[in-house]
């Protein structure tokens, strides 16, 4: 039986991807960012999953305004890095898991979570930067990935609670897949940041620290926070944090926090990162 063994949350800042791709990781500005992921890369070597369910948002790459799926699941066999205006990132092609993805889609739709099924799409920095942070720069990615895209570009995104409940449905779906697979779920985006308008550059360390605390210890209450609170307190793009609830909802109520990292700034953004293990899911 497939089972979810751990969750990872991390920011997915494009400048972090550029710093990796351009070999700037040892520069004074970037060093503290990447130092926070040294533990993670080591942990990942010891805990490489078969498949990652990678929750992220597309940044006007695969989806333009002609259609805006609130939740979408990538069921293709592979996904190419998107050209976001400066050429595609030179990272390996992302390998999907069509059988598991189709199983999950069927399971959660019949469980009343109506995901859009996507059979062809490119994946942008929202998906590939977390992979670079967790896996480094391999010639091929060490596991398969099922992209789960959440709309946070056009208001309103799904609520935190809806994301949390989707995580629970994903966990049920994984639990009914026959093949013996070690699965992780990642939630990406955030933390506090605002990329637009005269208020650009907003950072709220207190908000972020509280969010990191409560996501681990009291996610059900935290998931009730309305969108406007994210926008006001954590910046207009801080609302991406709703995606972390999909990750948290897919894990057990009680989790073991094995890593926590926070740093300001990376470009415009506060970097936040958690690794949470499901205690009873040793592979």
């Amino acid at each position: 039986m497939a089972r979810i063994t751990a969750g990872v949350s991390t920011s997915h800042i494009p400048a972090v991807g550029a710093a990796i791709d351009l070999g700037k990781m040892e520069e004074d500005y970037w060093k503290p960012v990447f130092k926070g992921y040294e533990f993670s890369k080591d942990w990942m070597k010891r805990n490489t999953p078969d498949v990652v369910l990678l929750v992220y948002n597309d940044h006007a790459s695969a989806f333009d305004l002609s259609f805006v799926p609130t939740f979408a699941i990538g069921c293709a066999g592979e996904f190419q890095p998107a050209d976001e205006g400066w050429g595609p990132r030179k990272v390996p092609t992302v390998q999907g898991h069509p059988e598991l993805a189709s199983h999950i889609a069927q399971s959660v739709i019949l469980d009343e979570f109506d995901l859009t099924v996507v059979n062809e799409m490119d994946v942008d920095h929202g998906l590939t930067v977390p992979m670079s942070l967790m896996f480094g720069q391999p010639d091929a990615w060490p596991c398969k990935v099922i992209p789960i895209a959440v709309n946070v570009v056009v208001y309103p995104p799904p609520t935190g609670n809806r994301c949390y409940q989707l995580g629970k449905a994903l966990s049920r779906a994984v639990g009914s897949f026959d093949e013996d697979l070690n699965i992780q779920i990642w939630g990406t985006g955030g933390m506090s940041h605002q990329l637009q308008g005269p208020r650009a550059g907003l950072i709220n360390k207190e908000f972020d620290a509280h969010f990191l605390d409560k996501l681990v210890s009291d996610p059900e209450n935290l998931a009730q926070m309305p969108h406007v609170d994210y926008m006001r307190e954590a910046g207009s793009e801080g609302v991406e944090l709703v995606m972390w609830f999909v990750m948290r909802g897919a894990l057990n109520a009680e989790v073991e926090q094995v890593h926590r990292f926070y740093h300001v700034p990376a470009s415009n953004t506060a970097v936040g990162h958690l690794i949470l293990e499901n205690p009873d899911a040793t592979p």
């Binding site: 050209d83 976001e84 990329l195 637009q196 308008g197 950072i203 506060a270």
Partner: protein, 129 residues
């Protein structure tokens, strides 16, 4: 009943909702076209001529030619779509964000290194200095 917009009192912030989407639909779709290198080449060969192929207002086209990101946002541009313009220009998100705040990129980068713009005094319209 009009759409509820509880975020209208957040200062210096435009939320990309359904009304902004309608206003900026073609502006944003133009931005998407810059994801293809052949379109980038055509755009840079003659920016005005390329913009004239799109059913945008003259105000929207002028804002693009001026690289006035606040103006583009007020006319329905969404930052993730507008990113295709400054990425095609070879500029970073930090460069674009700095231009929207009226700071130089250097001043903006220093503000970020010092912990960013505080939420205090920036939560509601009217409370900023």
């Amino acid at each position: 009943m009009a759409l509820e917009k509880p975020y209208k009192d957040v200062p210096g912030t435009t939320i990309f909702d359904a009304d902004m989407l309608r206003l900026g639909y073609h502006l944003n779709q133009f931005c998407m076209s810059l994801m293809k290198s052949e379109n980038r080449d055509r755009f840079f060969a003659d920016q005005k001529a390329y913009l004239d192929e799109w059913p945008m207002t003259e105000d929207q086209k002028q804002a693009i030619l001026d690289r006035d990101y606040n103006r583009m946002i007020s006319l329905g541009g969404n930052i993730y779509f507008l990113a295709k313009i400054f990425s095609s220009d070879g500029q970073s998100f930090q460069f674009a964000a700095a231009t929207m705040t009226g700071m130089t990129q250097q001043q903006y980068a220093e503000m970020m290194i010092n912990g960013g713009r505080s939420a205090d005094g920036n939560r509601y319209i009217g409370e900023q200095e």
